[in-house]
Symmetry: D2
Subunit: 366 residues, 4 copies
């Protein structure tokens, strides 16, 4: 009924607030016997925020992670893993004026109505992008687990404000280039272009959106539980849990609606003794199950709602119209930060489904 958990077998419960002492996460259902130390998680968190100060919010969090349970002698025990990421650089005073004046594009208005005025409005409270630090931490555990079974999840910026990769990039480019630039784009030329767009938006007190693409390699055939816990259903649900997401598509996605069946169908062939498809318009998903081809999905991120430009709004306590230019420290584009978040969330979903499908056992071989 309440909903701070995802997954049925690899269950991730998130807690904390943007301006509370911590954001944290409990992972229940990680198999016993996974080699895991806190550094495995810290390394993932360290990549979350681009180092380039010009493209991200001025809020600076060291994002040091603490692990409280579930690991003994550097291996998971099968017990729940609880992690905290401390909030340090909190300026709640920035938000005092926002107690009653709802920010366009943010959850302020429905939250205030839904929670009867009790919700923590500081920095978005629970409905803040800050939660994604916890997602990345849990995602790092999922990725470590998946890697034990040869599965690799890779996300990258596919588009910012319409500037986009023309084709699915090579895995080599994704691995080598993505984290070399502040845009998390596997094409460094496009990354430059994107960077200029972001800077320009920032300069104008505005913001831009974009698309994160994510692939998963070496998935076994049959991951996903039809009808309703299908691989696309589960991943879509998880991905819409990331703040600012407005669309999710697999393979050819919305473009498939413009193809004929004869164009869109991925025909089968045998290659090196294995069944493969000649194209991958399905994005590696048929009937809610993985096909053995690379999983491919795209996630649409809207431009960040906090902008300096003045906008019309309402003071909901006094029920009168108002004007608002959002102050505080904000990201002109959330897409680069979202790349490791999408990667982590997809890994969480896949780990859950692979455990449920019996593809990952409950105790790993020692």
């Amino acid at each position: 009924m309440w909903s701070n958990s995802i997954g049925k077998a690899f269950v991730v419960t998130c807690f904390g607030e943007s301006h509370g002492p911590v954001v944290g996460v409990t992972v229940d259902g990680c198999p016993a016997g996974l080699s895991l130390i806190v550094d495995d998680i810290q390394r993932a968190l360290d990549t979350r925020i681009p180092q380039e100060k010009d493209v991200v919010s001025a809020r600076r969090e060291p994002d040091a992670v603490e692990l409280f349970s579930g690991v003994f002698q550097d291996h998971t025990t099968g017990a729940p893993l609880t992690l905290h990421v401390r909030n340090k650089d909190v300026k709640s005073s920035d938000y005092d004026s926002l107690k009653d004046v709802v920010r366009p594009g943010h959850a302020d208005y429905p939250a205030k109505v839904k929670y009867g005025g009790f919700s923590d409005y500081r920095g978005g409270g629970r409905l803040s992008g800050r939660m994604t630090a916890a997602f990345v931490a849990a995602g790092a555990i999922a990725q470590k687990l998946l890697s034990t079974f040869g599965v690799e999840v890779l996300a990258y910026t596919q588009a910012i404000d319409g500037v986009q990769l023309e084709n699915t990039p090579s895995i080599e480019a994704v691995k080598k280039v993505t984290y070399e630039n502040s845009m998390r784009c596997p094409d460094s030329f496009l990354a430059e272009k994107m960077h200029r767009i972001v800077i320009s938006a920032k300069t104008h007190g505005d913001s831009v959106g974009g698309v994160v693409e994510c692939t998963a390699l070496n998935l076994p055939v049959g991951v996903g539980e039809p009808l309703f816990d299908a691989i696309d259903s589960e991943l879509a649900k998880i991905l819409f849990g990331i703040p600012a997401v407005k669309g999710v598509e697999f393979g050819a996605g919305f473009q498939a609606t413009r193809l004929k069946g004869s164009e869109n169908n991925d025909q089968y062939a045998i290659k090196e003794g294995k069944v493969v498809t000649l194209t991958n318009n399905s994005g590696g998903v048929l009937g809610g199950m993985s096909t053995g081809m690379p999983l491919l999905l795209r996630v649409a991120f809207k431009p960040p709602s906090s902008i300096a430009k003045e906008q019309r709004t309402v003071n909901v306590s006094q029920m009168e119209e108002a004007k608002l230019g959002v102050k505080g420290r904000h990201d002109p584009c959330i897409v680069p930060k979202a790349v490791p978040v999408v990667q982590g969330m997809v890994a969480i979903g896949l780990a859950d489904l692979m455990i449920r499908g019996g593809m990952i056992p409950r105790v790993l071989k020692s």
Copy 2:
């Protein structure tokens, strides 16, 4: 773990196979006291399949629904409602040749690998569009329940093969025109054009896809449980459970990734004493909660995979390549049939979330 149920409060469990005796559904959690007779459900089912024979599969099912439990003296009792829709016009022999030769674009291959050869391959078995008859039946109950609280869900064809509505249609057009044409399109001129495209695809042994758009009116503010059972998360999960869906987006969706924050943010105003937004790029969703504005979402349907045109495939038992033109009775375009399915599924998701949010009580006033 297994996944033939959706919802936490209004729980819909689907069963049956395309070529078994029935497809059916159990709805657990419908509040007591809802006026409900079997005709309420039958009427919804009767709209599922366009009467025009030229645009749909030749399979003809009367889709007569039977109700086995949960209603006493024409009102729900709070007990589970079980419904069957009988399968009558079954030609399983069409599928004998498909036991080992996997159809491109269908779930045959992953199903065969996942279920070790035990899955019912006749007509797609459990992974068939036929299941959507059960979705529509359950959706009719959800819509009746929602209507008691003033909430109305309306779906329609937004695009077929790239021919699309330019703007969000008027509610009047949606209500009046949608079911007047076989394309389920609220614009009768476009419907004609779409019809020609479908007929042409059929003539060429091919198929086309399209987009279903869906709106929900009069939702209270705050439907949806952040973080993870958000209104967009839950609806996306449910919608990807419909066969052939490849993408889901809310409001401006993927187009929002090309807008500036100042363009995409829906600014607030007061109108007739209520807080409204001047635009609805959010599609009525902020922070995973309904805003009080109309919910608006779009669902991408790929072209049906069963086409007469010959394609490359594999006989997976003998592991050798093969050619296949899919025989049997198939739809050249699934979009019109999908319209009431999307409508029903969205209603199911909203009923579930409104009960969970305390907006629909467990016992209705008599």
Copy 3:
């Protein structure tokens, strides 16, 4: 939130009413590849009601089972299995007078308050012992599945109205004698005595209760998920779902509260190369997990609430006191009928936990 389902991996959803057309059940999560025909289930149902007319209600149901889904070529496919048991011998008129006069010991009063007068009061409606026909049907599937893995579940009458087995009976006696007498007791001498007690209670317009004991043999070590989905937690929850159950205990149970630790602890030894305990006061459960010793539990059934003897009650519509001798067809003792129900429910719980624990795979070897 709503609760007509049990289990997380082997999910059993029950529907129907005592005086509706059917009671039924959907089993979602039975692995693919289990050899199963409808007769496997019918045979279990046929043992539910003792043939001796003197000890059971005069209601006579043939309990013919129908299977609607999930089996193809005499094997489960992994899809949900839906079963109906038809209600034939229904005399709803017996219950007209009970619409407002609540029967002592039955659920009439809380049901009427909770469901706002909409609940189906005929024969207890949904809250009737008749539901256990569905439990037995689902239990038969669970037992067939467990037997594939060598696990055997056996229940029997341990006590009626204080007349009780002194010791845990031999498995031989349980298998041979239990279904030879109408009391379902593995000791035929005690069964005679119990029979006289039941007849005497019936003669006096009264009823008696008793205890069902259940064992499960050949369970692997480690069935049960601590902390909260422990084997004892899960089975207790399921068993309290059977009407008339007032207590559940494992091993020495309440008697263990009178033993010293040195008496109650089961000491370990090695026997034929395996770790065993010298006693089984734990009932085969430690820390919520199976120990490899026989599971042993007892379930307390109160005397049936429907008795001919006049009792004080209340007409809740008119809010005035009343007298009531319950007419209609009732059981003087529910214990014999409860034996296959307990057996089936324990099997359901164990099947669920063994699948969750990875001890039963999702696809059986063909």
Copy 4:
């Protein structure tokens, strides 16, 4: 599938190990607007361990609680509440010798088999009574919430080693006397007798068990969701999650199996305009729902398994028999410590069911 959470609406997730840095808990689903400060929780924890050193383990934990999320301006926000209780007085070296030699009556053996040797064996690791500190912390929140709705939960020692209360004690005695003695017994005379039994067991290197009784007052009619999330089902499940529990019964419980229907049925009357029963053999539960009479249940605790007396056991690594007298710091009787644990766990279960039943709203009135 994994199982460190209980509840569907008021969801309690427990983490931590006996000898890790913390035991902790996350409560997801506490309504917004509950007045709550950390002292409310600390006070409950402070009563968990009797101050009398002679009856409890020598392990001394200050049990200082920290709250990390979910409270803003001294009220719950509707977001998850995460609490830690730090472990301070840890002597892990006591357990080094137990790595391979399994302790009779403990979960060591099944845990070792189930978790492939990866489980944390120090102090029972995750399967330790120490977890109950987290249960008490979460229970304190549940009790505060229930009290807002007039519901009061009270537990007390009913029996130790066969010395038992003859009748249900008066609420006055329960409230006044229970925490005045180290036995947590509402009868101070019996408490003395119990105390002598505990001391004697300790002196002999042995241990004793007992029974905790629990009542809940002022429950509305209809708490509990039939069939399977019935009030007795849910509470039984939760209570078997407490270490050392071997039986749970409601009302007359196992004794009801020796009563005639005419004796056991609680007859109805009208008293002060309300429907009441003249007796309470049902323990306030009919058909899985509360009746409006006091809830009454009993929980059987076995004698603690850790005793100094030498017992037979097995070294499972070397597969050879061994002898073991358990060293370390242990409780001669767990019952007094279990009293606030049972109280807290029952409160958790009731809070969950009352929210699910719509009896507690999601946002409290401010």
